[in-house]
Amino acid sequence: MLAVAAIAVVLVAASAGCKKAKVDPFPASGAVSGWQKTSETRVFAANDLWQYVDGDAEQYISAGVVTTSTSDYKYQGALEAVVDVHTMKDAAGARKILETGLTKDAKTVQLGDECVQYAQSVIFRKGPYLVRIVAYESTPDAPQALLALAQAVGAKL
């Protein structure tokens, strides 16, 4: 009976859309100047990724995504942003995602193995990790603030 219950628990856990993260790459509130972590971290397995990126999950799955973790942040109580950390099977998968959709106005930044920055976003890869940080507004201090947050995430990977 206990064995059956244990199997059931395992199955339920395996089928759940949200799972606990094994690695926490998300800086705590105050760890980066001005940034507050404003949501719990959600973790999606590859099979459940459509629940988070419905319509775009296939791209990540074909590139070998294992899990995607996401959390919301706020800078100085105003600028909202989201941090997505995609754990891929290998670095090639992270590279594939990063290179998809790059545009001419992408600014190259020294972070991880490769990093690009736009006015409202920073995208970088480090080993099998692909990190995307997106701000919902364009403000003068957004690029610098986003980069500081990205560096903190990169340091935890």
Binding site: D54, G55, D56, E80, T103, A119, S121
Partner: protein, 337 residues
């Protein structure tokens, strides 16, 4: 009653309690419009633009949205006055659903300013606040798009299908097996489709037709992405509740996403500053697709076809088996204003 749009929450409160009811009743003018369109050789689509909709600071000038809406609707219907035009579009005394798209979350959801402008005009045309229902798949998505959840039946309502629930009965159409939102099946007499223009990683384009993925139970959505959503999107629209109730597209191309969709990717956003209006869902999407492709070409991106994401579902929707509209540009009467 003219309501300033600079305070969104106050607007919802005011609109819910103080609408001018003009008393137009009975006649389903829209049905007449449909008949006219069926008889016409071409499907009419209006693209209304306002280059000043976004200021030089990139911020949306919400007060101009109502004016743009008025131009779009009067041009489409041929009526001089927007309130008169609305009276010919919507049935009176029935619940009108406004199906927005907030799946992309904050930053790339149907603009609240547009939805509020439509609510204002609907009320001025005689629709009671309680007969206006703004909805999407889930409360969480609506809130992330800037909408406030409201369920008071005497006021403009706004909530997700997770509140109303879904039918137990599985609807079948071609490859599609889905359970539909009770908001669509039970609450609304007519649904206005308010999508937002986006590139889509699977379907290529998400606009009027793809927006109906948001009326089906989340668990049923996954299989519908097979084959670049083709023929799933076309099959879905052949379900009577969708084909018959979702009868008008008021498409939001105020801001749009030309790459990286459907989630918010600010590096791939642009402001077409436009509304795309029509009854023929296929013709509207065909028009939207051409706008998307022009932008992609402008920034040096390959066509959707070259990326393996051509929206084949439009041709399927227009084929003899589906007959949902026309995708041949020669058969679309495009009015750009």
């Amino acid at each position: 009653m003219r309501i300033a749009l600079n305070n969104r929450r106050d607007f919802l409160k005011t609109a819910a309690t103080g609408a001018v009811l003009l008393g137009a009743q009975g006649k389903l003018g829209f049905a007449g419009m449909l008949d006219e369109q069926t008889a016409a050789a071409k499907s009419k689509v209006v693209v209304a633009r306002d280059a000043q909709l976004h200021g030089t600071d990139g911020q949306l000038n919400e007060k101009r949205v109502l004016d743009l809406l008025d131009r779009a609707i009067t041009s489409y219907t041929g009526h001089d006055h927007p309130v008169t035009a609305w009276k010919h579009i919507v049935p009176m005394g029935k619940v009108i659903g406004l199906k927005v798209n907030c799946a992309g979350g904050k930053g790339i959801s149907t603009h609240l300013a547009l939805t509020l402008a439509i609510c204002e005009r609907l009320q001025q045309a005689g629709v009671k606040p309680g007969n206006i229902l703004v909805w999407d798949q889930a409360n969480e998505a609506l809130e992330s798009g800037g909408y406030t959840i409201r369920t008071d039946p005497s006021r403009i309502r706004c909530y997700g299908s997770d509140v109303s629930g879904y039918e137990d009965q599985i609807e079948t159409s071609g490859m599609v097996r889905v359970r539909l939102s009770k908001i669509l099946t039970r609450e609304c007499e007519m649904v206005m489709n308010l999508p937002i223009l986006k590139d889509h990683g699977c379907a290529g384009l998400t606009f009027a037709m793809k927006n109906m993925y948001g009326v089906i139970k989340m668990e049923d959505v996954g299989p519908m992405h097979v084959g670049n959503c083709n023929p799933a999107i076309a099959d879905l629209h052949c379900i009577p509740a969708i084909r018959d109730k979702v009868r008008f597209v008021l498409g939001d191309a105020i801001s749009a996403l030309y790459e990286g969709g459907p989630l918010f990717r600010p590096e791939h956003m642009w402001h077409p500053n436009a509304l795309i209006v029509g009854q023929d869902r296929v013709a509207v999407d065909q028009t939207a697709w051409s706008i998307l492709e022009r932008k992609r070409a402008e920034v040096g991106l390959p066509t959707l076809e070259a990326t393996g994401r051509k929206p084949h579902y439009l041709a399927t929707a227009a084929d003899a088996a589906h007959q949902l509209g026309v995708n041949d540009p020669q058969r679309i009467s495009l009015m750009e204003i």
